[in-house]
Amino acid sequence: MTEGALGQIAKKELREITRDGRFTIVAAATLLLLVAALAFGLRQSAAVRAERAAAQASADEHFREQDDKNPHVAAHYGTYVFKPSGALTFVDPGVEPFVGSSVKLEAHRRNALEGARAQDSTSIARVGRLSVAAVLQLLVPLLVIGLGFSAWTSERERGTLRMLAASGVRPGVLFGGKVLGLAAALAGVLVPAALVIVGAAMLGGVGHAPAPRALSIAAAYAAYFGVFVALALGVSARSRSSRGALVALLGLWVVWSLAMPRAVLDVAALASPVPGSSEVQRAVAHSLERGLPGGAPREARVEAITEAMLEEQGFAGAETLMDPALLGAVELQAEARYESEVIDFHFAEWERQKARQERVAAWLGALAPPVAMRSLSSALAGTDEAHHRHFADAAEAHRRAFVDMLNREIAEHAGEDVWAYRAGRETWARAPAFRYEPPPLGWALSSQGVNAGSLLLWLVFASAFAWWSGKRVRVV
């Protein structure tokens, strides 16, 4: 009996929604926007991918084809690496349009990534950035509100609530039927969109999008929409009129989706400020010249590193090293190690400050599902700040290997006059190639505990609220 009633209620809800002309218009508009956002995202992704691949090939060729020169001079000339576009960028571009995509790798400097696409955009393009994620995060909740705000109030206003109440149906079955009906109407819009997304992705050559991440994004959005379905039903059950329910739900959407994202960032920045890139670079430059804060002066530290390196190679001290060329090469490497120490110190502190600010933002964002979802979505798509930093760290590791290789070339082949030595294309061809491996899903999720947890808690709370409200709908 219960199963029959549940199915009938869900069918009735779905029929009522789909036979309402407004649903057809709103659903069609949402689907159109999703497809447009998808088309735009795929085109952008493909263009960026091709552009960066070509740029990387060009930079590699430029390095390999350079004239004979001293390897350390070549290290100063450096090379460039380009951040590959993530497989799911077309779904959620995250911070990608606003952060740099290329970095110069050179000796003595850890450069910041440059070349943000947003810098080259017009102001109109920046404001009207349409993405699949934006449609899913902002517009689909509006669709859910539009479909669900009168789920209970219309029963009362129409007079069918008394017929329902007199029927002997269990409140839980009635509630379940309304949830299923609303979810089915929503699925009617989103499932075709999802199929179009998957199909277009396969045709567009991004079929290698990692399945675990894609499935995780789908699950996260399902939970997100579930929050709004439950809230719409709960508010409708508690409201005296459909108008009241609609105003309450729209007010919540405005606060959560428009006001809170900005407020969270501003409060987090106030509570836990983070220096800018140029400030960090100044601190690095100061420490390179004067030594680390609270540490030995530069010359003393480089000398200590040199002594340690000589000991590693079996020499008692610099004065016992008979070959000046070898000493010159060791000192070059010691300088490089000191620079790495300084960079690691300041960048580690910078990372800690950023992580602290992100934690503050995450806890504040737990108050609003759209804020949590925005962070979670870009993390799962691999387009958040953490993934950007992962690439930057990988580029830095490659820079050190690259510079080290060139310095070792001097140590092994330069002879007495280190600076007179010239290497050629054979040497450049041996430079390590940069291959970036994006981090796995587990790594992405490890920093999203607060966001994922808050979304789940909201789903539980909203469901309990909807259930409790539905049971208490007053007939008279």
Binding site: M1, E16, M163, A166, G168
Partner: protein, 234 residues
Amino acid sequence: MLQAVGLKKHYGEVVALKGLDLKVEAGEVFCLLGANGAGKTTTIQLFLGFVEPTAGKALIAEREVRLHPLETKRELAYIPENVMLYPNLTGLENLRFFVALAGKAELSDAELSATLERAGLARAAVDRRVGTYSKGMRQKVGIALAMAKKARVLLLDEPTSGLDPKASNEFSELLEEVKKDGVAVLMATHDIFRSKEVGDRVGIMKHGELVATMSTADLSHADLERVYLEHMHD
């Protein structure tokens, strides 16, 4: 089949029902006559479980409504003054929906259509959206629901209000059909004429109290009207 034992309902200081004792047997139509605010609708709502009694008991098929809300509702059918249905669904879809809620999802469309026709709904109207129905047509769907559910109790609240004479007569005939199926009917109304037409017994309510109960077999229309007006002017 349907019984009130010392049933009382207070809304704060306001006494809606003073203490009702009433019994309606299977196959009997009992009409509650009274002016607006007499307590008729409150009585119906207490049997429906829409409100809880302040004291006393409302029983359906010997089960107390307050303690067995779902089981008692499955025994009854309810036709309010305005039978409100889902306007975007057809008559058949509405009936199928409410019948499924009552635990009779196994009834086929053919059976439900036949029930609608038995309740007097034109064949052509069965597959039309209820938004196009008149009040009388919606009421027929309500009667069809009672028949399809095989309800043992039928609660009617001003069922002929707003109906034209033809529709009211059709309704009276349908009530006779329902009665023959052994259904106990409690009808709240201020239509003296209809009470005499369809009722086996009539109870006059005034200020929350059942002030008189009589069998309609021994009364003419004029008698009933006289008795009613005497009580109203007391």
